[in-house]
C-alpha cells in the first residue's frame, strides 16, 4: 500500500491508523501472556510437587543480583514511559535521552544476567548430563566464588533437602529447567525489545517523533512494559521461595 507521509494507504486517517496499531499490539501482548502461561503452568505443578527441591534451588540464587535487576528493569520501564511522554509533548531531545537511558538499563540487566548464568554454568547447575547439585559442596575448591560461610549454609540446606527428598538431584533439575526456561525466554524478549529500541533511537535522532506522530514509541513502550511485568512475576517466583530460615 502506498504511504502518504506517516499515513499508510490502507487507512483513512492517522487516528484510525494509531487505533489499529495499538489494538494490534495489545492483542499481541495477549498472545505473549498465553506463551508465558504454558511455562508458568509447568512451574506451578512442579513447585507444588517438589517444593524442597525448588526451595533449595531458589536459595542458590543471589538475592542481591536478582533484586538489583528488578530495580533496574523497573527503572527502565519508567524511562520508557518518560520517552513516550516526551514524544507526546514533542520534546525531541528528551525522547532521545530517555530512549538511550532505557537501552542502557536494558544492557545493565543483560550484564547482571550474564554474571548469574555464568555462575550457574560454573557450578554445574544447568540441566543436562553434567548437572550436579552437590558439585560445589563436594568440590569447594572449584567454587571459590562462594565464601566459606555461604558454603557451609548451602551444604546444610542441601543435606536437609536430601533428607526430605532423596531424589533431590533429579528434582532440582526441574527447578533449574524452570529457572533457565523462564529467565531465558524473558531475556529473549528483552533482546527483541532492545532491537526495537535501537530502531526507535535511530528514528528519534532523525527527529521523526512529535505530538502528531509517536505511534512507534507508544507501541514499543507497551511491549517493553509487558516484558517488565513478566519479570515482576518471575522475581518472587524464582528468587523468593522459602527464603526465611
Amino acid at each position: 500500500m502506498h504511504r502518504t507521509g506517516a499515513l499508510y494507504g490502507q487507512f483513512k486517517t492517522l487516528e484510525q491508523q494509531k487505533d489499529t496499531a495499538t489494538l494490534g499490539m495489545w492483542i499481541f501482548l495477549v498472545t505473549e501472556v498465553m506463551f508465558f502461561g504454558g511455562i508458568m503452568l509447568a512451574y506451578t505443578i512442579n513447585r507444588h510437587t517438589y517444593f524442597h527441591a525448588f526451595a533449595m534451588g531458589s536459595n542458590t540464587l543471589s538475592l542481591g543480583l536478582g533484586g538489583f535487576n528488578t530495580v533496574v528493569l523497573l527503572a527502565s520501564s519508567f524511562t520508557m514511559a518518560m520517552a513516550v511522554w516526551s514524544a507526546q509533548t514533542s520534546k525531541k531531545g528528551l525522547i532521545t535521552l530517555f530512549l538511550s537511558l532505557t537501552i542502557f538499563l536494558g544492557f545493565v540487566f543483560f550484564g547482571v544476567k550474564y554474571v548469574e548464568y555464568a555462575q550457574k554454568f560454573h557450578h554445574h547447575l544447568v540441566p543436562g548430563k553434567t548437572f550436579d547439585i552437590f558439585y560445589c559442596v563436594r568440590n569447594p575448591a572449584k567454587c571459590s566464588d562462594i565464601d566459606a560461610a555461604d558454603m557451609a549454609k548451602e551444604k546444610e540446606e542441601i543435606e536437609a533437602a536430601v533428607q526430605a527428598d532423596p531424589d533431590l538431584n533429579a528434582h532440582a533439575q526441574l527447578y533449574y529447567s524452570a529457572y533457565f526456561g523462564m529467565t531465558g525466554l524473558h531475556a529473549l524478549h528483552m533482546v527483541i525489545g532492545a532491537g526495537l529500541l535501537f530502531w526507535l533511537l535511530k528514528e528519534s535522532v532523525a527527529g521523526r517523533f512529535n505530538a502528531e506522530w509517536n505511534n512507534p514509541v507508544d507501541i514499543v513502550g507497551l511491549y517493553w512494559h509487558f516484558v517488565d511485568i513478566v519479570w515482576i512475576y518471575l522475581f518472587p517466583l524464582l528468587y523468593l521461595i522459602d527464603r526465611h530460615k
Binding site: Y8, I27, Q173
Partner: protein, 562 residues
C-alpha cells in the same frame, strides 16, 4: 453493475491486481492481501499433495495384514508426517490464509488488511517453518505421531524430531499473525455502514477462528519449545526419569490442539454460511444465532481439551467435568446445522458445484460431529479411544467437512479470484467422485474401530482385513477426485470463460467490485446499506423480487458502529 444473464458477454477488466505489476519480485514482495492469498494457495496445495502422498502410502501398506510395502519404522514415519503436514501445513492455514486473506478486506470494504507487511511476513514464516519440516522429512523423517507425545518424542525417538518440532513452532507464529491481522481488521477497517450485524457470517467465523489462533497457538509454541529444549538440552518438565510429568505435555498440547480443530472447522462453516444463502437465494436462517454459535464454539472449545486424555489416568472428576463440557460444545454446532437446513426451506435452490460441496459438507460434517459424541461419552471412549473409530471421526470432519468446505469455497470464489469460470460439469463430476470415494475410504474405519483395531498399526490381525481393503480402494477413488479440481481449476484460471463481476449472483461486498478486483479492491469506498444475504432489497442484482414480498428498505446510518 453487470448481471451476466442480461448484458453482453462480460469481458476481463483492463486493470486488476493480477496484472498491476509483473515479475517475481512483484509477487514475493507484495503486500496485497490478494496476492498473498495466492502465494498461500500455491504453498498450501503443495503441502496437501505431500500429505496426500503419505496417505496413499499408508493405505497401500494396509491392504494386507502384514503390509509388505513399508518397514514398521517407515510406516510410522508415514502417518506421522501425514498428520503433521495435513494439520499444520494444510488444513489450519487453508481456508483462513487463502480465502480469508483474499476475502475479508473485500467483505468488510477495506483496501487491505490492517497490517499488510505483517501479512506478508506471516507467509514467509509459514514457508520457513515448512522448509524446516520438509528438511526433517528427508533427513530421517519423523515418527512420533502428530501429537508428539513425550517421553517418546523427547527421549526415545530416533528420528529428526527437533527440526520438525521447530518447524511446527515457527509455523505457529504465522498463524498467530494471521489471526491478529483479521481481528484488528474486523475491528477497525470496516466500511461505512458495515455494522457488526451486517458482516457476512464468513467474517464472523474468521473472527471466532482468530480468537482461537491468538489464544491457543502461543501455548502450542511454548509446549513444543519446551519439548525441543528437553530433547536438545535436557530440560526436564516432561521427563519421568527426572520426576517430570508426561501428562503435563498432553495437557499443554491439547489445550491448543483441541481448539485447533475449531480453527479447521469454523472457517469451513463460514464458507457454508455463504454458499447456502447464495444458492438458495435466501437469507441465512437465524443470522444472529449462527454468528453467536461461532463465538460460542471458539470460547467453549477451550475448555474441553482433556477429552483426548480420558484414559491417561487424569483425575476421574476432571474427566467427568470435561466430558460434560464436550457435550456442551457440540450444541452450537447443532444450532448451525439446523439453521443451515432451515435456510433451504422456502429458498430457490440451484445445484451449482459449490452448492454440491455444501450438501456434502452438511452430511459428512454431521456424521463426523455426531461420532464425536460417541468419543465424548466417557463410557464408550474407554472402548474406542485410539482405535480407527477416532481416525474415522476426524477424517469425516476434517476431510468430509473442512476440505469439502474449502473446495466449495474455492469453486465459489474462483471467478472472483481469477475472473474466470471453472468448467461446471467437470466440477460436478469431481464433487461426486470425491463424495463417493470419501465414504468408501472412511466409513469402513468406523467398523474397524468398533471391532477394536487400534490406530497407528503397521500390521493387524487378519480379521480386520476386509474393511482395510475397502478403505484402500476408496482412497484410490479419492485421489482421482482430488487431482481433477487441481487440474481444471488451474486450466480455468487461464482459459476459462470470463465470469463477470457477480456471476451467481451473490450479495456480499466482494461481488460489488470487478473480478478480479483492483489492487485497492474498490474504486470508491463502498457504503453499505443492506443486511447480509438480503436478496430482496438489492435491485442491482437484477433478480425478480415478487411485488410486496420484500421487506421495507433498510436505511443505513451514516457510519458504522464499533
Amino acid at each position: 453493475m453487470r448481471t451476466e444473464a442480461t448484458g453482453p458477454a462480460p469481458e476481463m477488466p483492463e486493470k486488476h491486481y493480477l496484472n498491476a505489476t509483473y515479475g517475481i519480485r512483484s509477487w514475493l514482495l507484495t503486500t496485497d492481501h490478494k496476492r498473498i492469498a495466492l502465494l498461500y494457495l500455491a504453498s498450501v496445495t503443495f503441502f496437501f499433495f505431500i500429505g496426500g502422498f503419505f496417505a496413499m502410502m499408508i493405505r497401500l501398506h494396509l491392504l494386507t495384514p502384514n503390509g509388505y510395502l513399508l518397514t514398521p519404522d517407515l510406516y510410522n514415519r508415514m502417518f506421522t508426517m501425514h498428520g503433521v503436514t495435513m494439520v499444520f501445513f494444510f488444513l489450519i492455514p487453508s481456508i483462513p490464509a487463502i480465502l480469508g486473506n483474499f476475502l475479508i478486506p473485500l467483505m468488510v470494504g477495506a483496501k487491505d488488511l490492517a497490517f499488510p507487511k505483517i501479512n506478508l511476513l506471516s507467509w514467509y514464516i509459514y514457508v520457513v517453518g515448512g522448509l524446516f519440516t520438509l528438511w526433517s522429512m528427508v533427513n530421517g523423517g519423523l515418527d512420533t505421531g502428530w501429537t508428539f507425545y513425550t517421553p517418546f518424542s523427547t527421549l526415545y525417538s530416533n528420528s529428526a524430531v527437533a527440526p520438525a518440532v521447530v518447524g511446527v513452532f515457527i509455523t505457529g507464529f504465522s498463524s498467530i499473525l494471521t489471526g491478529l491481522n483479521f481481528l484488528v481488521t474486523v475491528h477497525t477497517m470496516r466500511a461505512p455502514g458495515m455494522t457488526w450485524f451486517r458482516l457476512p457470517l464468513f467474517v464472523w467465523a474468521h473472527y471466532a477462528t482468530s480468537i482461537v489462533m491468538i489464544l491457543g497457538t502461543p501455548v502450542i509454541a511454548i509446549t513444543l519449545g519446551l519439548a525441543a529444549m528437553e530433547r536438545v538440552f535436557g530440560l526436564g518438565f516432561f521427563n519421568p526419569a527426572m520426576g517430570g510429568d508426561p501428562i503435563l505435555f498432553q495437557h499443554l498440547f491439547w489445550f491448543y490442539s483441541h481448539p485447533a480443530v475449531y480453527i479447521m472447522i469454523l472457517p469451513a462453516m463460514g464458507v457454508i454460511s455463504e454458499l447456502i444463502p447464495t444458492f438458495a437465494r435466501k437469507r441465512l436462517f437465524g443470522y444472529h444465532f449462527v454468528a453467536a454459535a461461532s463465538l460460542a464454539i471458539a470460547v467453549i472449545g477451550f475448555v474441553v481439551w482433556t477429552h483426548h486424555m480420558f484414559l491417561t489416568g487424569q483425575s476421574t472428576y476432571a474427566a467427568v467435568a470435561f466430558s460434560f463440557l464436550t457435550f456442551i460444545v457440540a450444541i452450537p454446532s447443532a444450532i448451525k446445522t439446523f439453521n443451515w437446513t432451515a435456510t433451504l426451506f422456502g429458498g430457490s435452490i440451484s445445484f451449482d458445484t459449490p452448492m454440491l460441496y455444501a450438501f456434502g459438507f452438511l452430511g459428512l460434517f454431521m456424521i463426523g460431529g455426531l461420532t464425536g459424541l460417541f468419543l465424548g461419552a466417557l463410557g464408550v471412549d474407554i472402548n474406542i479411544h485410539d482405535t480407527y473409530f477416532v481416525v474415522a471421526h476426524f477424517h469425516y470432519i476434517m476431510v468430509g467437512g473442512a476440505v469439502m468446505g474449502y473446495l466449495g469455497g474455492l469453486h465459489f470464489w474462483w471467478p472472483k479470484i481469477t475472473g474466470r469460470m471453472y468448467p461446471e460439469w467437470l466440477a460436478r463430476i469431481a464433487a461426486f467422485i470425491l463424495f463417493i470415494g470419501f465414504n468408501f475410504t472412511f466409513f469402513p474405519q468406523f467398523i474397524l474401530g468398533i471391532m477394536g483395531m487400534p490406530r497407528r498399526y503397521h500390521t493387524y490381525p487378519p480379521e480386520f482385513q476386509i474393511y482395510n481393503v475397502m478403505s484402500t480402494a476408496g482412497a484410490s477413488i479419492l485421489a482421482i477426485g482430488y487431482l481433477l479440481p487441481m487440474v481444471y481449476l488451474t486450466w480455468a484460471a487461464f482459459y476459462g470463460k470470463v465470469a463477470g463481476d457477480n456471476p451467481w449472483p451473490a450479495t456480499g461486498l466482494e461481488w460489488k467490485t470487478q473480478s478480479p478486483p483492483l489492487t485497492e479492491n474498490f474504486e470508491v469506498t463502498p457504503v453499505v446499506t443492506w443486511e447480509a444475504y438480503d436478496f430482496h432489497n438489492r435491485p442491482d442484482l437484477g433478480l425478480d423480487v415478487p411485488a410486496g414480498k420484500g421487506s421495507p428498505g433498510v436505511v443505513a446510518p451514516a457510519h458504522g458502529d464499533d
